[in-house]
Chain length 316, copies 2
Amino acid sequence: MSDLPKFVTVQEEGPREGFQIERGPIGTADKVRFIEALAETGLTKIDCVSWVNPARVPGMADAELVARGIRKRPGVAYTGLWLNTAGFERALRMPLDLVGSLIVSCSETFNLKNSNKTIAQAFDDQIATLRLYKQHGVEVRWGTVFTAFGCNYEGEVPLATVLDRCTRLLEIAREEGVQLKGLYLADTVGWANPRSIQQRIGVVRERWPELRIGLHLHDTRGTGLPNALAALQMGVDQFDSSCAGLGGCPFAAHKGAAGNICTEDLVFMCHEMGIETGVDLDGMIECALMAERIVGHPLPGKVMKGGSLTRFRTVN
Amino acid sequence: MSDLPKFVTVQEEGPREGFQIERGPIGTADKVRFIEALAETGLTKIDCVSWVNPARVPGMADAELVARGIRKRPGVAYTGLWLNTAGFERALRMPLDLVGSLIVSCSETFNLKNSNKTIAQAFDDQIATLRLYKQHGVEVRWGTVFTAFGCNYEGEVPLATVLDRCTRLLEIAREEGVQLKGLYLADTVGWANPRSIQQRIGVVRERWPELRIGLHLHDTRGTGLPNALAALQMGVDQFDSSCAGLGGCPFAAHKGAAGNICTEDLVFMCHEMGIETGVDLDGMIECALMAERIVGHPLPGKVMKGGSLTRFRTVN
């Protein structure tokens, strides 16, 4: 395990990924309270809302109210997600930290379902979006590739497709005078396994050794945390995750679509392995219990039920 | 991942670990039906009942009825667990496959709670039990060490304690003319992490390279399957697991005590990584759904909700 990173950055997706899929309704005040509690744990980036069509994702209809309601804590980036320029233009008017990302899916069908665009249209759109970001002074750091490990609509995703998507995003950025900091591979619908994680990360890193790699993992089939471990063993040090395991993708054509890997379970595993995260585990467990009270049903996180080992170590 | 085994043996613990902790009552016919369904999946060993004090574990009061009720399938071992000679004597009268194991805990306190004996008494007891096994022609294959990674009562368990317990069990066996086939390390209360798994397995294997290593993992804090992955990477090829993640330990002093790692999630991960198990994943998912219907509440397994990838691969 010699390639384990010393520090892992955890990007919290719970408020966005989580509350967008709940049958809800989740009150705006609860969303704000949850985001404020998350910000107390040491997290440095919290994805708070989506600027998506409220007709398709009713749980995000109050995105503006949430964005305006949060008492911001210094040193924490409060971000949001948009999938098109209409969403971006709404986001621009909000008091959030806007971070641009170039995004495309490996799967044509998923891309159509998720953003109503073919892959070719998505690439053209990234050019237009990037120009818009530059015009508004919004920093663009990452290229993000959805369904990088497989797709419920199209099945296996060839490695060549992943490399094609990464290559084209990097070309688009370069042509527009932007240097991407890294590539985010998203296992959008839970197809990855520890072997495919290590194979794909290995090939991407070999091709672009100068770029950082981030992972967005869903725990649809129980391999979320093993996949994170496999990535940690390759030195990957940036993960999206979701407090209490909140979430699921509304466009995955799959009723069993699960949320991201669970933040506090990931943090627990990292800490136990000697990897720092800057996150207070017991505080994050409190947030997970708050999330469960807010949504009103059990959430999949484990350490929120098992508890951290702190008290056992302190007592003995 | 070059040390991955080609084939992993999965020992099903669900009926025993699972039904002993349910507030129940679970009907005897349901238990029998579940065990019979499990036997159809390709499993070769199913732990069916505990011969424990029904006053302490009421869910096992019908152990005799279950054992006698199962229509046995050739090639499947239907086993049970006992913690003392009284339990063994009950087991002897049953139509089950009796496999003896030498058992001791690392933690003195856990050993007292689990079997009402000090460690010294437990070792003495193992000698007496081994003689009893020989007398009745019951094969003894494994030495099993409970709380090998930590204990809720005693905190961290030193590696030296694990080695002491293994050494003494092997000595006892040798003194009685029995050659143990391997050592089972049990993370009884969910303290292990991938690093401690690899460290402890590494040291045990270095000390006894001729012995097989098995793992009994509980998923109390979300690291169950990452721990299994870490062990697979060391070539470990035998795991206890529990269909749907049924279970929990009644003596762990811990209301959040979780069950074993989930059988079908482990099987899914292995198959996706190219490791065979001999288990039909879709059949095992059906068993998990049956278990959920029997206990009448959601169970923690993931792939039983997310589904296997078979249908997506077939369609496309």
